[in-house]
């Protein structure tokens, strides 16, 4: 039982990472109707920026905040410069553009920081020691990740619910034409959406570097797939769903990995441990087949 709880906590921590990236994906999809295939690479690039800031002697949490600001600005710039020109182009064109961004960020990270293994200093962002409650061993880092994630999600929710800008953002995403009539500059609102998403992705990237060192250009590729799975599970337009989906997926995948050996002993033919990615894939597929709108999404009526 203790073992189970331990694995659940670990799963919640990795689930937080997936949930943050999934939230970023959902934000952009809600705002601009686009699936940003480059979200993972952008997050990875942000993590490298954080690392670089720390290398330059900036204290970790200051670097963390600085990275958020830079990532936010980057997201805004990308929407204005790269996405806006193809706003009215066919869906596939926009997909290709985000794939182009994927290649650019991947290449830039390799070019700027190639070669050696890079890690953040020890005990950053959170101490990696463990403590024990009633026989259950828990890592402080995991708790830190979970709490910061919940805090961020809460802050974001409050922003959307209670502030004028948040309200304007919601309106601009849902009803761009009517929003213009009340004076909302819809284009910039969408850009802010991309900025927020980039900042969330940055947190996901920085936590990934902490939880699954070392820092390397390919580190967010699997996380992106898991984030897709989480977003689909929660409902591609539901921010809350994305977070819940991420947490659930994290726990699920971790349990699968932990008990894969036991499953094999019971006669299950394949070793699932190395197959977490394909498992996530099958998972996405299953959810889309059974309930295409996800747990919290609204069903779109399709009459054919």
């Amino acid at each position: 039982m203790a073992e189970l709880l331990q694995q659940v906590v670990i799963g919640l921590a990795s689930g937080s990472i997936y949930g943050l990236l999934a939230l970023a994906l959902v934000l952009i999809h809600r705002a601009t109707g686009v699936i940003n295939f480059a979200q993972g690479e952008m997050a990875m690039f942000s993590a490298y920026i954080a690392w670089q800031l720390v290398q330059w002697g900036i204290p970790y949490w200051l670097a963390f905040a600085g990275t958020l600001v830079v990532s936010f600005a980057g997201g805004v710039a990308i929407q204005r410069v790269v996405i806006r020109p193809v706003e009215s182009a066919p869906v596939l064109t926009v997909v290709i553009v985000t794939l182009g961004l994927l290649l650019i960020f991947n290449g830039l990270a390799t070019w700027l920081w190639s070669g050696e293994v890079r890690t953040f200093p020890a005990n950053r962002p959170f101490p990696t020691r463990t403590f024990e409650i009633g026989g259950v061993v828990i890592n402080v880092q995991d708790i830190g990740i979970i709490l910061v994630t919940l805090g961020l999600v809460g802050a974001l929710w409050a922003f959307f619910q209670f502030t004028k800008a948040g309200l304007a953002l919601r309106a601009a995403a849902l009803y761009p034409d009517s929003s213009r009539l009340v004076g909302i500059r819809v284009g910039w609102m969408l850009a802010v959406g991309w900025g927020l998403a980039a900042a969330l992705g940055a947190v996901s990237g920085m936590f990934t570097a902490a939880a699954f060192p070392p820092l390397e250009p390919t580190m967010m590729q699997a996380v992106l797939i898991y984030a897709f799975a989480a977003a689909v599970l929660g409902g591609i337009d539901s921010p809350g769903g994305a977070v819940v989906g991420g947490l659930a997926l994290g726990v699920f995948l971790n349990l699968v990995g932990t008990y894969a050996d036991d499953l094999q002993d019971l006669g299950f033919p394949i070793d699932l441990e190395g197959l977490r990615l394909p498992v996530a894939f099958v998972f996405i597929l299953a959810v889309l087949l059974v309930r295409p709108q996800g747990l919290f999404g609204r069903a779109a009526v399709r009459r054919v």
Binding site: V91, L92, L102, L103, W111, L275, P278, F281, I284
Partner: protein
């Protein structure tokens, strides 16, 4: 089709075929092998065009079908003796013989991949647009990992090496000389791969053209343009959608088999996610629904990464860019930037530009 146009079109096709046939005479051996790979891309693109350009189903996973074709071909070429020689083993229930000539594995690889594609097409029925893109993307990421697992069959991370095979199965790979009895000519291995790839490519193109002209083609386009209209006019959506998946997978499987034969080795790394992305890029560059554009699409996706590197070696870039272009990661960046710029200028691909200059081989709706 008006008669004037018809004459021009036939002339264009003939010119194209002749060009393909005589090109190796003007190319170095190395370039011939490059063009063979362009041909391999061309085959995979033709299949994807049918799926994405004609029925409108976005697939970011056709690299996975190539992988299946590639592995099937390798396993068949090696046969049980070959597998044993590499300390591998095929399960007894698999119809693996004692080793097959490489050319004959191509249609089989296509068939197996096609069946696979059919089964992917079934759940795809319920997915549309970006969801389908997501799922196929996940497929592309997963397949290299899945292929690592049954190590005794696939050779795990090391893959399958064909070099140990006897001469009569691997055409020309070992002595670099292929004798063509009909023409009484000797070809180098690279020239032979060029002709093999492009013969299949042209054959595939002809088949696609015939398909798309006929009833399946009209049905495909009906599916893409309006599902409501298609169903109400009696077109069975489901069967055509899965058929399109199967066909595109078959083409990809043939391409994958060819790639294995040409490289004489296949590993999980032969079919990375990037490959699937490249295929989709190729179709969009070509222009959705255009068969003529596919040639340009294949050239683009093959040569852009290669070209950046080659330009850097040759030194014809301005100084600042020179060093940058050679360093790891830069080619990727340049590729991405070029891609985005091309999308800005030609959001509908080369076809929109081409159709003002010439015309597509099939009648475009």
């Amino acid at each position: 089709m008006r008669h004037g146009w018809l004459g021009l079109r036939i002339a264009g096709v003939v010119a194209f075929v002749v060009l393909i046939a005589i090109l190796p005479n003007f190319l170095s051996d190395f370039r011939a092998s490059e063009f063979a790979r362009v041909g391999i891309f061309f085959i995979a693109l033709t299949g994807l065009q049918i799926l994405t350009g004609y029925t409108g189903q976005i697939s970011l996973g056709n690299g996975a079908f190539m992988a299946i074709g590639g592995y099937v071909s390798a396993i068949l070429i090696l046969g049980r003796p070959g597998l044993e020689a590499s300390q591998l083993e095929a399960p007894s229930w698999l119809p693996v013989g004692d080793g097959m000539k490489d050319i004959w594995t191509i249609p089989i690889a296509a068939l197996v991949a096609g069946v696979f594609g059919f089964f992917v097409g079934l759940p795809a029925l319920r997915l549309r647009g970006l969801y389908l893109a997501l799922v196929t993307f996940a497929l592309a990421v997963s397949i290299p990992l899945i292929l690592r697992e049954p190590e005794t069959l696939t050779g795990g991370t090391n893959g399958l090496n064909l070099f140990g095979t006897t001469e009569d199965r691997l055409t020309g790979a070992i002595d670099n000389s292929v004798h063509i009895p009909v023409l009484d000519k000797d070809l180098t291995f690279n020239d032979w791969t060029y002709y093999l790839a492009w013969s299949i490519g042209l054959l595939g193109l002809a088949v696609a053209w015939a398909l798309l002209r006929g009833r399946p083609g009209r049905a495909f386009r009906a599916v893409r343009d309006s599902e409501v209209a298609a169903t109400s006019s009696g077109v069975s959506l489901a069967s055509y959608k899965t058929l399109a998946f199967a066909i595109s997978a078959a083409y990809a499987g043939a391409a994958g088999a060819l790639l294995t034969i040409v490289s004489t080795i296949v590993t999980p790394g032969s079919f990375p996610v990037f490959l699937s992305i490249q295929l989709l890029i190729g179709v969009v560059i070509a222009g959705l629904g255009s068969l003529v554009g596919l040639f340009l699409g294949a050239l683009f996706i093959y040569y852009l990464p290669v070209g950046i590197q080659e330009l850097a070696e040759v030194g014809s870039l301005p100084d600042g860019l020179q060093d940058a272009a050679k360093s790891p990661g830069m080619p990727s960046v340049i590729y991405g930037v070029v891609l985005i710029l091309v999308m800005f200028v030609l959001p509908r691909g080369a076809a929109s530009f081409l159709s003002k200059v010439s015309f597509p081989l099939t009648k475009r709706l």
